[in-house]
């Protein structure tokens, strides 16, 4: 597999209000995201998740080290537009990323900026809206839609630019459970069916559990990296950095404390129930 995003020795400091009061977020961070993968980046508040995401398409530039996006250096100003069309970004608040008053016009905003021809924009907009399941809402006003629907519009707006990779910065943080489910399904479909690389920044364990790979970030450093099963079975480590494992793992871990002997890699409730059933039957 080729590399989508490669972060090498990333150092980043936010300029402080006073001189010498700069806030350092990353000292020396290395991370590689494979093309076509679905990676979740987890971490407690203030661990630098969003700051990292903003490095993935050149919104923030490293203070030291390099970020390569499909072999393009994010510091290369001439490549900036190319980087941004390759890596799409979806933010937390859907209201603050929708530009237009009609759904389809908003989805068209990106391709319009790229100078795509009108018939091609039309095709891309229709395709993108169908992909997120919002085609029948194409002529609606965004402010009348639910949070989950708005967020799907925002995702459609990004995929209409035909990016190779989408970075989603806590896209479900402001949504109700139903909206969250809609958005997560959309993201999974994009990754599975279209082969789009997905980087999902989240603090919901159950969302991270859907990814191929989980990267846990805390204090600007990667503290765990692996498949969801590998990462979440380290329950004590998760607790020590202020995160909880998915509920199924927490349950098994608690039971183990009172003498059970259960595996900690069951992330799916049905799977977990089956394990418990098998265990109790013996």
């Amino acid at each position: 597999m080729s590399t989508a995003i490669s972060v090498e020795h990333l150092k980043y400091t936010y300029p402080g209000v006073d001189e010498g009061a700069d806030v350092s977020v990353f000292e020396d961070l290395d991370l590689t995201i494979e093309d076509g993968s679905f990676t979740a980046i987890l971490g407690p508040n203030g661990c630098g998740k969003s700051t990292l995401a903003k490095h993935f398409n050149g919104i923030l530039l490293p203070s030291g080290g390099c970020v390569y996006i499909y072999n393009m250096d994010s510091k290369d100003e001439e490549k900036l537009m190319n980087i941004r069309r390759t890596v799409g970004m979806v933010f937390q608040n859907p209201d603050n990323q929708i530009v237009a008053n009609v759904v389809e016009e908003d989805v068209a905003f990106g391709p319009e900026n790229l100078g795509v021809s009108s018939p091609e924009i039309r095709r891309r907009v229709d395709r993108a809206l169908k992909q997120v399941g919002m085609y029948e809402y194409r002529e609606h006003a965004p402010h009348l839609l639910s949070g989950g629907q708005k967020q799907r519009i925002a995702i459609a707006g990004v995929i209409a630019m035909q990016p190779k990779c989408i970075v989603l910065d806590e896209p479900t943080a402001m949504l109700d459970p139903r909206g969250r489910r809609e958005v997560m399904e959309t993201i999974q479909n994009l990754n599975r069916d279209k082969g789009i690389t997905v980087v999902l920044i989240t603090h919901h364990m159950d969302e991270a559990a859907l990814a191929d790979r989980v990267v846990v970030l805390t204090g600007g450093e990667v503290v765990a990296d692996g498949t969801p099963k590998e990462v979440f079975s380290q329950v004590d480590k998760m607790h020590s950095i202020g995160l909880a494992a998915p509920e199924t793992v927490e349950l098994c871990s608690e039971l183990n404390k009172v003498g059970f002997c259960l595996p900690l890699d069951k992330l799916d409730p049905v799977e977990c129930a089956q394990t418990l059933y098998d265990f109790l039957k013996v």
Binding site: N57, I59, M81, R84, R85, G88, M89, F91, N93, D95, N96, Q97, I98, V99, A100, N101, V102, E104, E105, A108, F109, G110, P111, E112, N113, L114, G115, V116, S117, S118, I121, R122, V125, E139, H140, A141, P142, H143, G157, V158, M161
Partner: protein, 268 residues
């Protein structure tokens, strides 16, 4: 209460008025406003009223929404009416009391003035109700296009208008939320002297502004992420193209204006 503000709200639809090119609608609206100010008699007002009524009927926009939109203007309407009723010199005195007189001329004039304002506003509403703000700003951008040669930032202006319109409902909702939050903490917006009420608005305005700035910042980042870099090299999904319908509409608009002008030359 804040939800009643319908200004700048678009009602999606498929009527002939909806399908007109935004440029056509804008030009016709200008013609219509000129005609309104040229109208001097019952006959010409009748013509204008007919034009408006037919347009509204074709648009299929519920009358209710026009009435709603007009509500905030009630004060101006009443004020205009009173001024015109009492301060128009005339001969046919109808009522006279306490040194004030109401003349027939005054009443007629007040009626015309009111009709003019009402029709003006209704016509403008018809435009914003039937035209998506993006189409509207596209239309404006295209009509004002020649001004780009004079280095006027036409694209930037239309983008700003578009975003402003987009955020009206969002900010209204936000204001509602802030007001509820402040009410819950005992702020009284409804009673007290004028100064007290004005002061009570500060705890609404401060958070509203802060949030608006934060939104603007996030929106700017989101727009940058979507490769926005100004009007140069930008294409449009919907190209503005005149159709047969537009020429028909122009015809009707010009005929109406001409009719009013002809009537005026006959003193009607």
């Amino acid at each position: 209460m804040l939800k009643d503000i319908t200004l700048g709200q678009y009602f999606p639809g498929k009527s002939a008025i909806h399908r007109l090119d935004p440029r056509t609608k804008l030009v016709i609206l200008v013609l219509y406003i000129i005609a309104l100010f040229m109208a001097v008699s019952w006959v010409s007002y009748g013509v204008m009223f007919l034009f408006l009524a037919v347009s509204v009927a074709i648009s299929g926009v519920p009358l209710k929404s026009f009435v709603k939109g007009l509500k905030p203007l009630l004060f101006i309407l009443v004020f205009t009416a009173i001024l015109n009723i009492f301060f128009t010199a005339g001969e046919t005195v109808l009522v006279s009391f306490l040194g004030a007189t109401i003349t027939l001329e005054g009443l007629v004039r007040a009626f015309f003035m009111l009709t003019r304002i009402l029709m003006l506003v209704t016509g403008t509403f018809l435009l914003t109700y039937t035209t998506s703000p993006i189409a509207l700003t596209d239309g404006l951008e295209s009509l004002l296009g020649p001004l780009k040669k004079l280095r006027l930032p036409v694209h930037e202006l239309s983008m700003m208008m578009c975003i402003a319109l987009r955020f009206i409902p969002t900010l209204i909702e936000e204001t509602d939320k802030i007001m509820s939050a402040q009410k819950a903490r005992g702020v009284d917006f409804e009673s007290g002297k004028l100064m007290q009420r004005v002061r009570a608005l500060i705890p609404i305005l401060v958070p509203l502004f802060i949030s608006a700035f934060r939104r603007a910042d996030e929106l700017a980042t989101a727009m940058e992420c979507r490769c926005y870099q100004g009007g140069d090299g930008r294409t449009k999904m919907k190209l503005l193209r005149y159709k047969l319908l537009d020429f028909k509409a122009y015809g009707v608009g010009i005929i109406t204006l001409t009719a009013v002008l002809v009537l005026r030359s006959f003193g009607l």
